[in-house]
Subunit: 209 residues, 4 copies
DNA sequence: TATGAATGAGGGTTCATTCAT
DNA sequence: TATGAATGAACCCTCATTCAT
């Protein structure tokens, strides 16, 4: 109340612990599911007694909320900060960005889809809002491209969901070091996406061939 | 003690109970997730005490396994029994079938994707094998069509996954009575799928427009 | 649901367990206070695992509520069933009854006063209502006797509380086998109560004026 | 390290904190009971972190001991310092003093009776000794008055307990601003006490003897 | 004197499951 | 086939307390 009675060193240790809690919880939630993970397991991973977790997160639910909300906000910031050649088609930017980001953060992505129902209503609403904001990016690209005659999309919202479902499914089967490189995956999916929304005749898809 | 002590009446009652257990478990697993559902809740839904469940399923895990395996085998049989106009393109048949079936059985589909990790290894393997068999149907269609020059698919396995992810995502947002009819959904997705795998020039997609 | 599938023997065992839970809880609550007693301790006393307690009482609070409510109702029934010589003054009946009953049930009486604040509001209200009903018995006796000129009580409600506080205090210090017999206690207190509410004839209260 | 490192300012702040700890603990113990109050709650009330409490009291038990012992010693000093008209009957002095003091310090009185069992043996003995010293005051008054023929008390120790129980019960139901003023309570109780121990002239107690 | 982090123990409660009846 | 009682393990969380800073 009076100010900085606590030395920076102490506070730093606490933040390090919180970081490790998040990391352990993320791994465990992704592997076994929120409901199947116990606070004891997380504490063991962190190297701390269960009670100590409550110095950093008020409840188990708050750990989940933290992971999911910060994943969504990281995703948004990453899109904002992504750098692509300026001449690159926005759709290509989005597809490549989405695949890369989702292959880099498989655990976050996974729990972000799997644990939605384990969020309490308020937290669920917050995460859903972020998800819609993200989808709106793609919808905007499709809208604009369609208006310009570059794409032919009957229903941009449906197309958005279709494309995102398609792309987001990749980490469920893609394994690094497998037959296909990440680059090849990007190219394959980009081709399919482009064709799926291409104008039906006299295509501007010449860049593919 | 007398041999056939069980009267047909009793057996019938037992099968009816088993059916209700499956039904209740399906609803609950879909709504809350396997780990978050207790045998007591299922028993309450059925109108029976928890102990009685064990007359029908040896463990909770067996209920899950039963639901998932029978979903996969129902899916395969349904495909086998599906009737489409013989002149209909096999891809269209598959897409329409998949969407219809998955919109009819949202709970089964949902747990089939969500609860995979809660299956014990053997059960997981069995379900995965079925899933691969199902995916093979689409891969076969793509292979054939590509060989015939009707489609241009660089990597049929990847395309299979992409298409199935896209289609299977529908029930996560589609709501009956919403803006779009099931028929419209089918048509929209069919168009996207067709275009995504169409040969790049001189398209045979004229039947859509 | 269909009837008596369970044999009387099983049910009897359960009721015996419930009885022992009540008994153990009563002893422990009286000795250490509700908050300081753990369900594990009660279970140990009963010879059962903690979880088994929940087959008989939904929560710890329900054990307390049960003890307190049944104490109050037992008290009321006991008063209804008490037999005294018909010519005995009702006040004497009440005083003797109260002292006897409270010396016989010291634990119940004790928690009944000590644990009131640990009752959740609804349960508290129910117990308080019973307590008031009991006090009303004495108030009625005082009212009638005062109307008949046998007693001189300025404020019967205050007198009720004063007398009951006085009598209820006995078990806090009285020990069986001590200097005074229960009979002597009864007589001593009866004398004091009688005098305290006796009509003032030519009292030696002159020292007040 | 320099010897008198503690500035007077610091010490004053500490004593102020200790006072607030006592105050908060008193309120909480009275409201919920010692066992149900956590050090965290007390710390919150004081506006300090739990650990800081241990700069002022070595354990939670010591807070309780402090409260109870200082209550008893305050009570004794207050009796010593009480001023009544010299001609007032000592019994009246005691009754009025007791009622007044106990209505002024309801929380202290309450925990003093309720939390006895939560005192560790040594602390319990110390508090009990003080309580007996206090009761002895009344017993002395009764003894003297009986010897002088002013009172007729068969058993002064029993009468002491009866009177004190009666008086101490008042704060459990008396509410300031209610139907009766404190003055009226004093008068009512004083009358009852006086009559209860008055010499028996021609009493209707014939049924006892 | 106060803090924030941690401990170690234990709180009430729920769980899947077993089993005699 | 269904019941009610019980088990044994585990659940999330809170506790009084310690201690380096």
């Amino acid at each position: 109340m009076v100010g900085t009675a606590t030395k920076p060193q102490t506070r730093a240790k606490g933040q390090e612990t919180a970081r490790r809690v998040r990391k352990a919880a993320l791994k465990r939630f992704a592997a076994s599911g929120y409901a199947a993970v116990s606070m004891r397991e997380i504490a063991d991973d962190v190297g701390v007694r269960p009670g100590a977790l409550y110095n950093h997160f008020p409840t188990k639910q708050d750990i989940l909320k933290d992971l999911m909300l910060s994943h969504m906000s990281d995703l948004m910031s990453a899109w904002g900060a992504a750098h692509f050649p300026p001449e690159m088609d926005p759709l290509e930017q989005f597809v490549r960005f989405h695949i890369r980001y989702h292959l880099e953060r498989t655990d976050e992505v996974f729990i972000s889809y799997m644990e939605l129902r384990n969020l309490e209503p308020d937290n669920f609403a917050a995460v859903e809002a972020e998800r819609r904001r993200y989808e709106t990016i793609l919808t905007g690209i499709l809208d604009k491209g369609t208006a310009a005659g570059r794409y032919a999309v009957e229903n941009p919202k449906v197309a958005t969901r279709a494309i995102i479902a398609m792309l987001t499914g990749i980490p469920t089967w893609y394994r690094e070091g497998g037959r296909l490189s990440e680059q090849e995956i990007e190219d394959l999916y980009l081709t399919m996406v482009r064709k799926a929304i291409a104008p039906t005749q006299a295509h501007s898809q010449t860049e593919i061939g």
